[in-house]
């Protein structure tokens, strides 16, 4: 069962009905605890409502100026990029780049010389000694191929 003192907050907040308020008024007259609490809260609120500090007249202008100045500094620009949208987009882009490099890690453009290097590697692997191993560039390879064609 609710004790009369438990209705203190509802009474103070004005949430009780007319009958309940009258009942609590009667309780208040008989309960020094609730009366003391009521007086303390009234006095406390009254003291705190006094506001001797005066708001500086140009505060709003100074705040706006500071906000816009801060907006122009490099760290603010960097921070502005750390907002969820741009940060996510940047992360996605970096992720895409990395995944591309990871998926095709051994990609190399194919040309005649790279094919030659590959063949040479295979030839070396089976110890084939040939004049072909003297070739150092694609141009030399072309000349060698022409000579080979003529000789045949």
């Amino acid at each position: 069962m609710t004790k009369p003192c438990d209705l203190f907050d509802s009474y103070r907040d004005g949430d009780l009905s007319g009958v309940e308020t009258a009942r609590f008024d009667a309780h208040l007259a008989a309960c020094p605890d609730c009366r003391g609490k009521m007086a303390l809260l009234d006095n406390l609120a009254l003291i705190l409502k006094q506001d001797p500090a005066v708001l500086p007249a140009d505060l709003s202008v100074r705040i706006a100026k500071k906000a816009f100045q801060r907006n122009e500094t490099w760290d603010a620009i960097v921070l502005s990029w750390l907002r969820p949208g741009p940060a996510f987009a940047a992360l996605l882009l970096v992720g895409l780049l990395f995944s591309t490099l990871w998926i095709i890690p051994n990609y190399q453009p194919t040309n005649a010389f790279s094919e030659y290097e590959k063949l040479l590697g295979e030839a070396n692997a089976v110890n084939i000694d040939s004049s072909i191993s003297q070739i150092q560039s694609e141009a030399e390879l072309v000349v060698w191929l022409e000579q080979e064609a003529k000789s045949q």
Partner: protein, 204 residues
């Protein structure tokens, strides 16, 4: 659901478009409310101006995220209350030197006045420095969330719906916080009145 006041909406849009004057006007509209909460929650300190400034700078930084479907007032008050709660948590270790400044008889007189029913003492009604110190000493040590809830409800006289919006909680949670703040204050006041708390402070 109430939306942002049309004048506020225009000021916010112009601020986001780079109009410094619009932001100054927006600050001007809400600076008194923010100042009152900061001043009453953190006490009268020289840092209050910096605190108000910081609240509005935080609001400016987050302004692009603000949804114009909602009113601006509770949003800025929520930033202010969060800032105050943060500051109170940081200041937890520091205590005001109230009781060392006043002699025993003065302390007893002030405390007796605080619990007096009926017409308040002139010093209380005027909010003279000593009474403000007593009030601040009572609020000190109160859980920062309860303290801000108490200020919003009892001093600012805001409806619970508004208190809840400022605190970012439900109305029921706001009521619970205010109720606990009241009970805690009474408990602390009794301890001061009996001299127990004052002795503790002197030892410290």
């Amino acid at each position: 659901m109430s939306t942002t006041d049309s004048a506020d909406s225009i000021l916010i849009e112009n601020t986001l478009a780079g109009d410094e004057g619009a932001f100054a006007e927006l600050v001007k509209r809400y600076q008194c409310a923010v100042w009152a909460v900061v001043h009453r929650t953190l006490g009268n300190t020289p840092d209050n101006e910096d605190a108000v400034q910081e609240v509005f700078l935080r609001a400016y930084t987050a302004l692009h995220k603000f949804d114009l479907k909602y009113p601006f007032g509770p949003w800025i008050m929520r930033i202010a209350t969060n800032y105050c709660i943060d500051q109170l948590r940081r200041k937890k270790g520091r205590r005001t030197q109230l009781w060392s400044e006043l002699n025993e008889a003065e302390q007893e007189r002030l405390l007796a006045d605080m619990s007096r029913e009926g017409n308040p003492e002139p010093g209380i009604a005027e909010g003279t420095a000593d009474y403000v110190k007593v009030a601040q000493a009572l609020l000190e040590g109160l859980n920062p969330k309860y303290r801000v809830a108490f200020i919003l409800r009892e001093v600012e006289e805001r409806p619970y719906e508004d208190v809840a919006r400022c605190l970012g909680t439900s109305e029921v949670a706001a009521r619970v916080r205010v109720s606990r703040a009241r009970a805690e204050l009474q408990k602390k006041f009794r301890a001061y009145l009996s001299g127990q708390k004052r002795k503790e402070r002197k030892v410290q």
